[in-house]
Amino acid sequence: MGEMIVVQDLVKNYGEFCAVNHISFTVPEGKIFGFLGPNGAGKTTTIKMLTTVLDPTSGSIRINGHDSTREQKQVRRSFGIVFQDPSLDDELTAQENMDLHGILYGVPRAERLKRIDALVDLVGLGDRKKDFVKTYSGGMKRRLEVARALLHAPRILFLDEPTIGLDPQTRNHIWGYIQQLSKEEGVTVFFTTHYMDEADRVANDVAVIDHGKIVAQSSPGELKERTKCATLEDAFIALTGHAIREEEANATDRMRMMGRAWRGGGRR
């Protein structure tokens, strides 16, 4: 078993502001790794750097043995990702979204069609695959995104708050499947979440990041022991404090507001 993700001394500065401040960690192959932290702690910035869409200020990242800035193609082929925000094309059907992904990742046609059928069935969307994504509910979109992320059989799965806004049924369904993948196929899973019970239940290891620094890293059990807390949530608060974090609305949030106003309904 090798190390699937190796992060060394990673830094991301935005001007004066340091979003990620010299963090290092490793994730062994086949493990489920929870990346926890309050709003604005640097979780999403870290995931963006791990997934090659944001250049680090300094430090190094190796994904599946490849350098994330020099061997981007190999790195990108190694992982699948479910983003925090939806990233489907609403004007295409589920099948078309899947197909487009498969073509971008160079999955041969016969295998692509077979895998698409199997995966949409797996997330319970088999009978809706010919429907436009714009007719999907939030939970259905999320399930489709999980299916899509797995289409090219990645070795690593990144999940940025994958279960936000989902009902307990869907959440359990998705986690059940991801745990099975990890166990049976040795897929490495890196996820962020605000639900501490969820992290406690599924993660082999967690890291807690706050103000751009990793403040703790161990198994959920050890973390509770060390902080003498009964739940991971209490341990999390013991580590990161009670202060509520402010996050500035970014361009995306403003845009979504505008989009909502224009469509007169909002995203379902």
Partner: protein
């Protein structure tokens, strides 16, 4: 190559599936064609200019292409805000393939729109002259479409949200259209304006399209073709460069 193809197909599908957009973007060219075309027709003929609709139609077709092509580039902003851009940026294909797929798809959509406007112009009385260079009309339409898909891509890659969109339309696209010889010829204009027209890439596109359709060139076929081809290549290069620098 397959990535270019599928991203291109995606844009064509989105176009065909949105009749509201197709009809909506026909409004402006039809308005200009009817208002200017019929409004100035008599005056133009009295001044010895001949058939104004024949002069104007290539300009209106170019306009339809210009707006649709720029908009296809600006769509990057929508894809960024509504997420789809991320899906393409984490895929194991080069940014160059992605941006070429997008620009080509956008250009084909703009050209489709241009062909619809062409047909409307024919109904309104536009008469093309059948000649060996008539097929070049399609070439010019395609080059105009690619050129402005490139310009749209530059802005789509630079801007974070749609706030800057009216700025681009009013201070770049509208002036490019008005000062391209689309609605009036460069003859008799003040020297400074004539020079401005010369610097406008659309001028050569409009002139080439007009020449291919009617046989009358202001700058000459070779100049038009060379200018538009070179400028298109440059803009595709600049568009690709800006797109490849996108960070999320």
């Amino acid at each position: 190559m397959k990535a270019i193809y599928i991203l291109c197909v995606r844009q064509l599908k989105r176009y065909i599936r949105s009749p509201a957009r197709i009809i909506g973007s026909l409004g402006q060219p039809i308005l200009f064609l009817v208002a200017l075309g019929f409004g100035f027709k008599a005056m133009f003929a009295r001044a010895g200019g001949g058939n104004y609709i024949n002069f104007l139609a290539p300009g209106i077709i170019s306009m339809a292409i210009l707006f649709n092509a720029v908009f296809s580039g600006i769509e990057i902003i929508w894809d960024r805000q509504f997420g789809f851009l991320k899906e393409t940026l984490v895929a194991p294909v080069s940014r160059l393939e992605i941006v070429f797929g997008r620009m080509l798809g956008g250009a084909l959509v703009a050209m489709a729109q241009g062909i619809v406007v062409f047909a409307i112009c024919l109904i309104a009385g536009f008469r093309v002259k059948s000649s060996p260079i008539l097929p070049l009309a399609i070439v010019f339409m395609f080059l105009i479409a690619l050129l402005f898909a490139g310009i749209g891509t530059v802005f789509g890659s630079m801007l974070q949200d749609m706030q800057g969109f009216p700025l681009i339309i009013n201070f770049l696209i509208m002036p490019l259209f008005f000062f391209s010889g689309a609605i009036f010829s460069a003859d008799g204009l003040p020297k400074a304006l004539q020079f401005g027209l010369r610097l406008n890439p659309l001028s050569y596109g409009v002139d080439g399209l007009r020449g291919a359709c009617t046989g009358i060139f202001a700058y000459g076929l070779k100049t038009d073709l060379a200018a538009v081809t070179i400028l298109t290549a440059i803009l595709l290069g600049i568009g690709s460069y800006f797109f490849s620098r996108i960070q999320l």
